[in-house]
């Protein structure tokens, strides 16, 4: 039997949710540890960067990299792990397409820092302090990684073998991928793991709109008593389902909340947010041109609603930071 | 000219009823003979007949001769609207020596056959009732004479356009004092604004 495959898990600009979804495997982790060696998992155990630096190239069989690339440290580790591992999986929405951190691309660094360090409600008087590149301490100088002007997704800086969408990827899908990795039968490089080709609407069993139904006012989920049986669009609530890939098992829909598009664009969708704008824009019902604007204004945060997970991967982001 | 209102003249009433065919306008919907038969049964009706065109000379001559022959002192004409031929029938009866206001019309054309073509039987009943109503009214009619009033022999023409000018010229040339009133500072109206006018293509001032 060949040597046990070496697995690595790393978390860059991440909330840790993707790490937790692995721990959710529970006892099954024990089987995994019998069949494979986890050689790098800083979030769970005390691994040091040097451990990876001392490895030979491509020593790691499969590296599960989650989290977006926000600062120089993330980029450095991404390059390092790419060098050290045969197969690299962009694990979760942040690595796959920038995720929630990607929404920062709407703002420049200065206004971000202002928000975080000055105007945030939980700060009483920041006297304008800012993180410094290097700070001299009695023990010696400590330096912080530099903050990039925009958030990048993993695929932007290294080439990736597989994508696994989801925020976080659903634990059952993670288990299926683990078994594929352990049994060595991963599909062709570049394909998407842990999701199926259809869109969320395909798997959603809610009653769809009557022919000719149109929306004359949008409401946010907390503003309306959501009916669990009918499609959210018929209730005037934005649901990204039509343009989002299925495979998550729709936990949100079961929890009576509209899909927010974390599994990324469905097959054939070039830019998830623009496509949703196109679909929802065509549904607005009025013959009176002036009322059109008032209805549009009821969509409070278009970019946030349509690009909640994919802003960093969007064409607009590329246009802005190219 | 007796102005005494309503003194009941108890001379013996002799009413004549004339039901007009008006070609097919009335006869096309109801049968005038049936109205005539009905009228004959009414009190004081001494003579009732139908006629093809009451307003024509033949119809009027029939009424005039009957007034002589049957010594009629009231006449009922069941035909068209008073706005059409009341003057005609009043003139006819007065030529026969009967006071024109002792003639009463029943409108069984515009307000009966023309409006109830879809309900012939109802139209017939209505024609009978309208004729009876006219007969009832003649029972209490008194002879009246037109009131004549003095006439100021001056005319007023409002509007100084081509129609107003032609009217005032015609009136003035008959020797009638005419006032031509025009709200604009000049007479001539729209015509004066026009370039040459058809057919003579001469100047329009």
């Amino acid at each position: 039997m060949t040597a046990k495959p070496k697995l690595a898990f790393y978390w860059a600009a991440s909330c840790g949710g993707c790490e937790i979804t692995i721990t959710e495997l529970g006892m099954r982790l024990v089987d995994v540890s019998e069949q494979a060696d986890i050689v790098f998992w800083p979030a769970a155990m005390d691994f040091k960067y040097d451990d990876v630096r001392q490895m030979a190239d491509e020593e790691i069989d499969v590296c599960f990299f989650n989290g977006a690339i926000r600062n120089s440290e993330n980029e450095e580790m991404a390059h390092l792990l790419r060098q050290k591992s045969k197969t690299m999986i962009a694990f979760g929405s942040c690595a796959h397409m920038g995720g929630i951190p990607g929404l920062a691309n709407m703002y420049d660094i200065e206004s971000l820092c202002q928000r975080v360090f000055d105007t945030s409600p939980s700060i009483d008087d920041s006297r304008g302090t800012r993180p410094q590149k290097t700070t001299t301490m009695p023990e010696g100088d400590i330096d912080l990684p530099t903050l990039f002007d925009h958030v990048k997704y993993l695929g932007e800086i290294v080439n990736i073998d597989y994508f696994m969408p989801g925020c976080p990827p659903v634990v059952d899908q993670v288990w299926i991928v683990f078994q594929a990795v352990l049994n060595g039968n991963l599909p062709a490089r570049g394909s998407v793991l842990g999701a199926d080709g259809r869109s969320v609407c395909d798997v959603c069993s809610r009653d769809k709109a009557e022919t000719g139904f149109r929306i004359n006012e949008f409401k946010r989920p907390h503003e309306v008593e959501l009916d669990p049986i009918t499609c959210f669009l018929t209730q005037g609530v934005i649901c990204c389902g039509p343009a989002t890939r299925a495979g998550c098992g729709t936990p949100c829909l079961e929890g009576n909340m509209p899909c927010r598009g974390c599994y990324g664009p469905a097959e054939g969708v070039q830019d998830q947010g623009a496509k949703l704008a196109s679909a929802i824009g065509a549904m607005i019902d009025t013959e009176d041109p002036d009322k059109l604007q008032t209805i549009l204004n009821t969509i409070v945060d278009p970019a946030g609603s349509f690009y909640r997970f994919g802003l960093a991967h969007s064409i607009m982001s590329r246009m802005k930071y190219e | 000219m007796s102005h005494q209102p309503d003194e009941v003249n108890n001379e013996e009433l002799r009413i004549g009823v004339y039901v007009c065919h008006c070609g097919s306008n009335i006869a096309g919907v109801i049968d005038p003979e049936e109205v005539v038969q009905f009228a004959e049964g009414l009190p004081d009706v001494v003579h009732a007949t139908d006629t093809l065109y009451a307003c024509a000379d033949s119809g009027q001559r029939l009424i005039k001769e009957d007034i002589e022959k049957y010594k009629l002192n009231r006449v009922v004409v069941s035909a068209c609207s008073v706005r059409m031929h009341e003057p005609t029938f009043r003139a006819a009866v007065s030529e026969a020596g009967l006071n024109p206001f002792l003639m009463e019309m029943a409108n069984i054309r515009e307000q009966c056959t023309w409006a109830h073509g879809h309900d012939r039987e109802g139209a017939l009943e209505k024609a009978k009732d309208l004729t009876a109503s006219a007969v009832a009214k003649t029972r209490f009619l008194t002879s009246l004479d037109m009131i004549d009033v003095p006439v100021t022999q001056r005319a007023l023409v409002i509007g100084g356009g081509v129609a107003g000018i032609s009217a005032s010229l015609d009136l003035a040339e008959q020797g009638i004092e005419t006032i031509l009133v025009e709200k604009e500072p000049t007479i001539g109206g729209v015509m004066a604004q026009l370039n040459k006018t058809f057919p003579t293509m001469d100047c329009s001032i």
Partner: protein, 318 residues
């Protein structure tokens, strides 16, 4: 003479359908024929005046075979122009209704649904001005699947559904995403300054179209779409992404859309795209949506020149 028609004529059948009244008042003045663009742009045999005449003269089969019955898209331009206040488009729709009942079918090529791609989300059924698509249940290898189907006689080919369908599962030759995307230049093919998505009906006079085509290809590329309802913000962004510096979407004035509500859908899509660009504080003047009216002759020149000079300023500024 009673007012109710005793014998059932073709005209009385048409008048019985709501909107079909007053058709006997038509004194054949031809206003509707010249106000409507279908004869000038699609089929010389199209003539609403003649169709009304056929209805009145009881020529049922001629009417059912006449292209007017099938090509009218109920845009009501003729209704507001008719001096006899006849709702001409409703009379034509009534005739079409009777024609369909009599088994005749529309010569127009309707959109069709690719059942492998369709997810049954129902968006096409919501946005269609003619309510041609509708959802239905179907047994697909074992389990019940919900799909969309299109009523061949109702679809006018405006493409609003194609623009809205997230999965490119609906379409017809001429409006599919692949054909439109093929006309969007790629970075390598030296992209023009401006790309114009122009709807087929907003430029009334031929020489307006000539004005648009007179611009050198490296300055202005033209993409024809049946209606601005077909526009997809993705395509606008893809154009900007591949180096085109500006996108001009040109459709009809409110109330004059040839497909009833295509320009309202476009107004909303471009409005949403504007707010997206605004949130990313990208320059907004890059994408413009203009609505040209029936009497705005020569206005296309102002819009294109204005856009080119605006783009020139942006180029200087950045």
């Amino acid at each position: 003479m009673s007012h109710l028609p005793t014998t059932i004529t073709f005209a009385s059948e048409v008048k019985a359908i709501p909107g079909g009244e007053h058709l006997e008042l038509c004194y054949s003045c031809g206003t509707c024929v010249s106000k409507c663009l279908i004869q000038q742009k699609v089929d010389p045999a199209y003539n609403p005046r003649r169709l009304l005449r056929m209805v009145m003269m009881d020529l049922k089969t001629d009417a059912y075979l006449d292209p007017t019955t099938w090509l009218c898209s109920e845009c009501d331009l003729c209704y507001e122009a008719c001096p006899q206040e006849i709702h001409i488009s409703q009379v034509i729709t009534a005739v079409k209704h009777l024609a369909v009942e009599a088994g005749f079918t529309s010569p127009l090529i309707a959109v069709s649904v690719d059942e492998d791609l369709c997810s049954g989300c129902g968006i096409c059924a919501m946005v269609c001005p003619y309510e041609a698509p509708s959802l239905f249940e179907k047994e697909v290898n074992g389990e019940v699947d919900r799909l969309s189907q299109v009523d061949q006689n109702k679809c006018m080919g405006c493409g609003t559904c194609v623009g809205a369908c997230p999965l490119s599962a609906i379409g017809r030759e001429g409006v599919t995403n692949t054909e439109i995307e093929a006309q969007i230049p790629t970075p390598e093919s030296k992209p023009p300054t401006l790309i114009t998505f122009i709807c087929d009906w907003s430029l009334r006079a031929e020489d307006d179209l000539k004005i648009l085509e007179s611009y050198p290809p490296d300055q202005v590329n033209i993409v024809h779409i049946p209606c601005t309802g077909r526009i997809d913000p993705q395509h606008a962004l893809m154009a900007l992404d591949s180096g085109v510096r500006g996108v001009l979407v040109c459709g009809c004035k409110p109330g004059e859309c040839h497909y009833k509500r295509g320009n309202y859908a476009a107004t909303c899509k471009m409005g949403l795209l504007d707010s997206l660009l605004g949130q990313m504080n990208l320059p907004e003047k890059q994408i413009q949506f203009v609505q040209i009216g029936t009497q705005d002759r020569g206005r296309i020149r102002h819009e294109v020149d204005g856009m080119l000079s605006a783009l020139f300023d942006i180029k200087e500024a950045v």
